[in-house]
């Protein structure tokens, strides 16, 4: 084979293959074009029909599927109430919490303003305790507040703020003045929350937690030192509740001596 012959052979092989390949591709492209065109042609005719059907379908959902969906949902919710609550709780909880946080912030700003200007509780309690214990006021501030202790209990008439009875292990502060201040703060705060049946239940001041428990014509203020947490609050709430019912407090509201005795009796072991 000469050089030329060799070259021709190679060319033939290559070119033949090329040609076959090209025609193959051409065929494929033609088929594609055809498909696309056909689809286009079809869709012009079919699309409106589908749209109509879809519209009908959507229109009919409430009638056809609605009851079924509602029924299913109802059943689902009923059968998995816990799960639903669980799912909704964080959302609602967050909303409420955010609202409360906001309100509390406003409130505490207002109260702080008021307290700074008017109700000198810290000064008041600390002075009294300092006098009673002989400790310096700054020592008292620094004193560890580890063990929870009821310092003072006051039964106070709502509105007037008049003391109906009082009991304290160590005399903390003048109960008449504390009761007046608490009642004033309570009125102020409860006015701020215009809603009815809202009662101020707790005031934190310095080292003291003042737990307020409301009854219809009176409320009980418990001055607590040390840690006051939800568990303690619960316990305290229950014991005051049972105190008030067991001892029929409502019947002796106007008898200071009797009331004081009951108070002392009930809480001497607290």
């Amino acid at each position: 084979m000469t050089q030329d012959e060799k070259l021709k052979l190679i060319k033939d092989i290559l070119l033949t293959d090329d040609r076959v390949f090209v025609s193959h591709i051409e065929q494929k492209i033609a088929k594609l074009e055809e498909t696309i065109n056909q689809k286009k042609a079809l869709s012009v005719k079919v699309d409106p029909i589908i749209n109509d059907k879809l519209d009908d379908f959507i229109k009919d959902i409430p009638a056809t599927l609605g009851p079924t969906i509602t029924e299913t949902l109802k059943k689902e919710i009923k059968n998995s109430q816990d799960a639903v609550v669980e799912a909704l709780f964080p959302i609602i909880g967050k909303m409420i919490k955010r609202y409360i946080q906001h309100e509390m912030k406003l409130l505490s700003e207002r109260i702080n303003h008021q307290l700074n200007n008017t109700f000198s509780f810290s000064w008041f309690f600390r002075k009294a305790k300092s006098k009673a214990t002989g400790l310096s006021e700054s020592d008292l501030i620094l004193q560890e507040q580890s063990n929870t202790k009821i310092e003072q209990l006051i039964i106070i008439e709502k509105g007037s703020g008049v003391v109906l009875a009082e009991y304290s292990k160590t005399k903390m502060a003048d109960e008449d003045m504390v009761a007046g201040m608490l009642t004033a703060i309570k009125s102020f705060v409860e006015d701020a929350f215009i809603k009815e049946d809202q009662n101020l239940q707790y005031i934190e001041y310095d080292l003291y937690h003042i737990h307020l428990q409301n009854f219809s014509s009176y409320y009980i203020a418990v001055v607590v030192s040390g840690a006051y947490n939800i568990i303690y609050k619960d316990k305290l709430e229950n014991s005051i509740l049972s105190f008030s019912t067991k001892h029929k407090i409502a019947d002796v509201l106007n008898n200071k001596t009797a009331l004081t005795l009951k108070l002392k009796d009930f809480f001497k072991n607290e």
Binding site: H113, Q114, N117, T118, F119, E157, K158, G159, S160, G161, V162, V163, L164, D174, D176, M177, A179, G180, M181, A184, S187, F188, E190, D191, N254, K256
Partner: protein, 162 residues
């Protein structure tokens, strides 16, 4: 021992409510004026007729130019009012009649003493000139600064409460 009595002082800004209470409770007087915000509560035990001890819990409210705008929850269960105006400032007594009427309507049967304070700033002639305005309403002309008639005012009110 009878139950404590709640006494509330009302009247415009700066008429001397706080000063009257301080004079009565601590027997002091200062010239500097600190506006009362919210409520301030003080207490004094007194002895009236026949040596009966009685505790007065005195509520000092912030002054207001309009009595009807007062926070009514502060007034709940009040046993006795002291209405104070300033003899040296007509603006504090120009609505005297209407304000007292408001008190009487909203707190019927609650003993009320009406006092013109700062007697030391005016003279007898002034009172006589304004006889028509003051006499029908005023129980005492007092001065927190000099302490005149302050003790009488609180004692008489206390007596009216038992």
């Amino acid at each position: 021992m009878s139950r404590p009595k709640k006494i509330v002082l009302i009247g415009h800004f700066g008429v001397g409510k706080t000063s009257l209470i301080r004079r009565f409770v601590e027997n002091t007087f200062t010239k500097d004026y600190k506006v009362t915000i919210g409520v301030h509560i003080s207490k004094k035990e007194i002895h009236i007729k026949g040596d009966t001890p009685l505790t007065l819990v005195i509520w000092d409210l912030e002054g207001l130019d309009d009595i009807t705008k007062m926070r009514t929850s502060y007034l709940l269960g009040t046993n006795g009012f002291i209405y104070v105006f300033d003899l040296s400032r007509p603006v504090t007594y120009e609505n005297l009649e209407a304000e007292l009427e408001y008190l009487k309507t909203n707190y019927p049967n609650t003993p009320t003493k009406v006092v013109g304070n700062k007697m030391d700033l005016v003279n007898k002639a002034f009172i006589e000139e304004n006889n028509g305005i003051f006499t029908p309403f005023v129980d005492y002309y007092v001065s927190a600064k000099l302490g005149s008639r302050v003790e009488t005012l609180f004692t008489k009110l206390a007596e009216a409460l038992i």
